[in-house]
Amino acid sequence: MARQAEETGAKGSDAKKQKKKKSKKESKTRTVRANILYDRAKGEENPNRHYASNKIKTTKYTLLSFLPKNLFEQFHRFANVYFVFIALLNFVPVVNAFQPELALAPVVFILSVTAIKDLWEDYRRHRSDKEINHMDCLVYNRNERRYMEKYWKEVRVGDFIRLRCNEILPADVLLLSSSDPDGLCHIETATLDGETNLKQRQVVRSFIDLDCEFDPSKYNSVIECEKPNNDLNRFRGYIIHRSGRRDGLYKVNLLLRGCTIRNTEEAVGIVIYAGHETKAMLNNNGPRYKRSRLERQMNVDVFWCVIILLVMCLFSATGHGLWMFQYGDKRPVFDVLSPEGTGLSPVLSAIYLFLTMIIVFQVLIPISLFVSIEIVKICQVYFIHQDVDLYDEETDSHLQCRALNITEDLGQMQYIFSDKTGTLTDNKMVFRRCTVAGVEYSHDANAKRLAMYQEVDSEEEECTSHGGTLPRRESVGSHQSSKVVLRSHSTKSHRRTGSRAEAKRASILSKHTAFSSPMEKDITPDPQLMDKVNEGATQMEFMRFHSQPLSQLPSDLSDIIDFFIALTICNTVVVSSPNQPRQKVRLKSPVKTIEDFIKRFTPSRLTSGSNSSSLSSLVTNRSSSNRGCSSILSSPSAESTLTKLNEERLQTGRGTSPGLLEHAFSPVPTTTLRYEAESPDEAALVYAARAYKCSLVGRLPDQVTMELPHLGKLSFELLHTIGFDSTRKRMSVVVRHPLTDQITVYTKGADSVVMDLIRPPTDDTKGKRQKKILYKTQHYLNLYAADGLRTLCIAKKVLSKEEYAGWLRRHLEAETAIHSREELLFESALRLETNLHLLGATGIEDRLQDGVPETIASLRKAGLQIWVLTGDKQETAINIAYACRLLEPEEELITLNAESQDACAMLLEETTTSSSTAPFLVHRLGLVIDGRTLAYALDKSLEDKFLAVARSCRSVLCCRSTPLQKSMVVKLVRNKLKVMTLAIGDGANDVSMIQVADVGVGISGQEGMQAVMASDFALPRFRYLQKLLLVHGHWCYSRLANMILYFFYKNAMFVALIFWYQFYCGFSGSPMIDQWYLIFFNLMFSAFPQLITGTLDKDVSAETLQELPQLYMSGQNSEEYKPYMFWMNMIDAFYQSLICFFIPYFAYADSDVDLFTWGTPITTLALFTILLHLGIETKTWVREHTLVILFFAVALGYNASCPTCYSPSNPYWTMQRLLGDPLFYLLCLVTPLAAVLPRYFYRACQGSLFPSPVQVGRQLDKLPPDTRRNLLSLNRMKVGSLSSLSGEPSDFYRNV
């Protein structure tokens, strides 16, 4: 069958190839030949020479290209171009304002800061590249005829590589040989997708059954495959052997760079893609760059600054023209003529002056703002990284900021869209209850045991710390079971409070096994069910022994046995043991040849049995396709047949020897087996089955081995595994049952789909019973869902030979199809999964993460709308929503389930009217909508109505939603409501949603790293969102908002001083401020204090922010930086500059003061004012703020020591004289005070009379902790609006 597939595949690709030949053959495929064939022809003829080498270089620059390339990149930023333009303008003699070299200083400074940052980052990349490039691997050397150590960077496409266990793959390698007898190789892809479970890879089919070790020197096939692409889950190609035969190559044959070889002693492969062409490298995108809302707002104001600048320059230019004009032809002595000795016309000089003024006023455009923001953000990111509260000990991970420049957006979120599974819950599935054949087994003991996990924390912690080493799982289990008797606590508790010891142990264990904390593994079986299992097994054993047909087994018992068989084998769980590469639970030694086969099995056995004829026909069918192939290939199907036969032989053997039977009862060392599942549900079910002694002991591609009580090991011939997909919502395995020899389909899937596929019961008694079972099961399923359990239905189907053959034919066609293979396979699966016989259902609990209800409650108090978008079924979702307090019992639930577009429209209409008639209920509504209705609601015609309804609800729950719907909902809310959205999720299905939202948060949880890779922030746990938003978000936002406003203010204020002076210097563009001060004002004098404030200022303490989530609303409403505030700040700046200019102006009137002796005090005053202003706006004065004063002193000293050289100003000794002048001190006292008086008055009034919530919070901070706690608890009692909050604490304040 497989051979057929290959051939058709080859044919198909042949056809494809021919098609491509017409266009460009080279562009579509890559041909790889073994390098060893071409060793002599040094490169020239090597067909692989054009492919990228394995040397990786992630650096952007080389030593030579750094300067030009970096500058080029930096000039993409408009601001830099502007500053360079200004600096260059200074070199034009007619318009220059400063010493040209000096004018270059700021832009050079800014460029070099960025360049140094880039250089440092690049150097780090270079070092890591170097380390990686110099890792070792074994490459086959033709001359030495053995594998030699080589550096990774020397590996080339076409090289043969030998990999040993736990080695990391240096490149994308096509697996040609494995030490594993089945030609398997396991890899761990954690570095690619974060999934810790092992993945199986197969040796290319034609190489599987080589007798001897693979010898590279004999290899001379040619590989054709697709061009490098970044799709990790796709690889297509074919290998052409010398014989001309083609074999298809698939994803399962490719080992990806960066993965680790596990459980396989040795593997050999040929390099297909190397270096940057590997899938891992193609997938590696750097951090994302987004622009935050604050920055967008800021850019508008930067634009306004430009306008103000132009207006000021235009005004000055006109003024200068007029000033020139009034002198007419008589040139005054102080008017300097052009070098030619002729005067300029007023118009021309006005034009020149315009340019000069742009230089003089350049400070108005906050040159250092961009750099400062970057620095501040880096510091913020650093602090968020460093927060020990956001550190998760279990996983030893802390919050990661992947996007560096949207920290302040965290403080402005309005909507949170959350995934449920893995985000709100642990995604650690625990088997809770099941129902088999209509009988419910509640597993009470198990529930109690689960409850224990909450209680025994402290003891366990001690136990772990004393033990030092990892406690044995068994001992823990007994430890707990002893407790069960003592305590019987509520079994309804959905959450578990943080248990460090357990967590720690879980984390240690999780390194061995995915998804298997002891909580999931230790399942206490239900005694009733256990008995039935034993009884069933015993009866079966008895029947088998007496060769009675198994169909005589009572149907409920057979259902139970089948149920557990399904649980055990209907999955893709891989079994391995911690001490061995992979415990191959094989009951036979590999049979390699037909002779061997004949020798070992009697022909009679082979042909005996009711079904062997069809089986053999099947086999011949397959082997017929094999016949044309080279002898190195053997049929996998033959092997599986042997398995079965072998099994039978063993059974007969066991039948004669009671000792072997005994062995079946002896505890198989199952505890040493580790199950590696792709999803936690599967693992939970397998562990559950193991609790009933039905344990999975081995899985091979063509065979699953399980152990049943009394029956011992049974090997099921695995005919097909039809994997899970989100559309079908189920998976199936087709096996040959070893006891009945029937071809059986076991299906496991979501109840909604599986229940529809159950064979309609007939009318006889059996049918009635069936009906009853169906009814009961449905009932229990509803109960489970109401309990918040994830439900799965288990069903089976027995296929007759004919049915199977019929299905198989079409299935094979589908498998071998080239075009739309996926669709055909899907259809094939649908054809198989019909008329099922229901076995039972399971309820799996997905526990809520720690602190989720609290987090949701406080986020909601912070004014955040929380929507949960989940793929789960409605009942489960609602239940979890109640558990995590997303929905409150007193809330009225609106459930939207519509079958059609019109129905949906009507429902929405209805809801809108009802909610509008009862407006006082508005905030007590919860909306639940299912996926299908959501699809209708998201339609263009209904989306507005849907949004209107959703907005009126306090919480929204979307169930059964697809990833696409999730992202559509986020997009809709974001675009229509113009709000800031945050999406949080953990799985691949959340990626699109995370990318659409303003801020995407990934939970680095159980389901791999895709979500994290797509996110801006990665959290270890959901509850950290609270501190991230409420504290860090608030701080980042308020700090940055204040800083930006302050930057605008201080620059405007400083520039305005010069502007006023133009009225007194004939608009000649002459600054009274020393050019050095002017140029460095922005970079040094005022920027440093601001940077400190921008990184360290805390308006309210972290504790208060978390206790009073309402304070978050200030960020949501952009209260720190509203558009009018920019203008208020501008007005304030102009006022302050007027004060700072005119007080010295009048104070020095009628004196013999010279230009810079007068200008320097103005500079000083302006700086004092600016710092005082900062002082008012600064909420906390950290000790570091004293640096400000220190720095100011340094500035004065610098000025004093300035030598005689700086041409226009020559500020020599100016400051010293000033410091000896009492007038200077008097000015310093009165001017800044007068300048900040209005603002101070405003703030004081605001602070004492009408405090904003944030200020109230700040006042609360000042109170002693006890009082504060009392007040806060008081406040919590009143589900209060902010007004009541803001009223109260002033009173508190007065009382204190």
Binding site: T191, V388, C1065, S1151, D1152, D1154, P1208, N1210, V1230
Partner: protein
């Protein structure tokens, strides 16, 4: 062989190391390396956890109202002191531009007249306490013009003879006078004020000259550090200026600025230094002389005085004015009421504000608090 694959613990470290190296690539270096169990745990320091001790200034009524009151009172105190201090200063100023025909210098205001002198007479009815400073003042003269300010050569002025031959371009267009380099070059030097004044006390019909002290009127640093004469050639300053031309507007070359005092010539001439220090505003005054010697050390006694002016400097052409000012100074400079008034105003404002806040506060807050 099999056992080598999964040894219980030892291998983990190895695996970790490799993994971290890998992560470094795939994550663009963002992830931290993982070494041990809690290697990633952030440091729990006050700095990293943002718990630095801080002082929170609280703008609350309890602090603000008394604060304002205190500041207001202090300011009013300072204001009064300044105001009184400033009032004791005597100033006598007189415009001598000669725009009106009835003013003494009307005749000299005609630019074509050379070496014109005029005199202003005034009477002191009250003793003018010393030390008395004599200033000249110019109005509407833009010494602070950008180009004017640049138009000088500091290297030349520091006596570097290399710049005597090739003055800096910044001096243009006052660099060369018919090919000969101008020393001192530039518009600033060229426009130097060249009126001179002589003060006489009229004692019974005779003019008793009041000695005017021209020493130390410029900045000490200018005279001693910044400005330097070129090295003397053969003991002669004039020779050092050989090969240079005087500024166009000057009547005499730099080395003949003060014929009475040979040490007060060249760039070391104090009047020159005073001029070269640019005034901040278009209406400015510059110190001309001090009256510190002889009978007048304690000030100018009551009597009639005559100020003889040799009127050379044309200002009418650009609408300028010239004046002469006699003033004494206090510890805080010349007469200027403004600062005292400013202190008074701002001090009162503070008090008013504190009162306003008190009233508002009482009105809005006390009733609630009492209830």
């Amino acid at each position: 062989m099999a056992a080598s694959c999964w040894p219980a613990s030892g291998f983990y470290r190895e695996k970790k190391r490799n993994c971290s190296a890998r992560t470094a690539i795939f994550d663009g270096g963002m992830m931290k390396n993982k070494e041990g169990e809690v290697a990633n745990r952030p440091d729990n320091t006050a700095f990293t956890q943002q718990r630095l001790p801080a002082w929170q200034p609280m703008l609350s009524a309890g602090i603000v109202i008394p604060g304002f009151l205190v500041i207001g009172l202090v300011f009013i105190g300072i204001g009064v002191a300044l105001f009184l201090g400033s009032q004791s200063i005597q100033v006598l100023e007189s415009d001598y531009t000669g725009l009106n025909s009835n003013t003494p210098c009307y005749e000299c205001s005609d630019a074509s007249k050379k070496n014109c002198t005029c005199s202003i007479e005034f009477t002191l009815t009250k003793q003018f306490d010393g030390p008395v400073f004599l200033y000249y003042g110019l109005s509407n003269f833009f010494q602070n013009h950008r180009k004017y300010g640049v138009s000088r050569d500091y290297y030349q002025l520091s006596g570097d003879t290399a710049y005597f031959k090739n003055p800096s371009d910044s001096c243009s267009p006052y660099i060369y006078d018919s090919g000969v380099p101008i020393v001192p070059c530039g518009a600033a030097a060229n426009s130097m004020f060249n009126d001179s004044f002589r003060l006489y006390q009229l004692v019974g019909g005779t003019k008793k000259p009041v000695p005017l002290d021209g020493k130390g009127i410029s900045w000490w640093t200018d005279y001693n550090i910044v400005f330097r004469n070129p090295p003397l050639v053969n003991g002669s300053l004039a020779a050092a200026f050989n090969g240079t031309a005087k500024p166009v507007n000057w009547a005499k070359p730099a080395y003949e600025l003060d014929t009475s005092d040979p040490s007060n010539n060249g760039f070391m001439n104090e009047d020159f230094l005073v001029w070269m220090r640019r005034a901040a505003l278009p209406d400015f005054r510059k110190l001309y002389r001090r009256i510190t010697q002889g009978d007048y050390a304690a000030g100018l006694p009551v009597g009639n005085y005559s100020l003889e002016i040799s009127y050379n400097y044309p200002v009418i052409g650009f609408g300028g004015r010239k004046k002469i000012v006699l003033s004494n100074v206090s510890w805080m400079g010349g007469k200027n009421m403004f600062l005292g008034v400013a202190y008074l105003v701002i001090g009162s404002l503070c008090i008013v504000m504190s009162l306003v806040m008190l009233i508002v506060y009482a009105k809005y807050k006390f009733p609630e608090g009492d209830s």
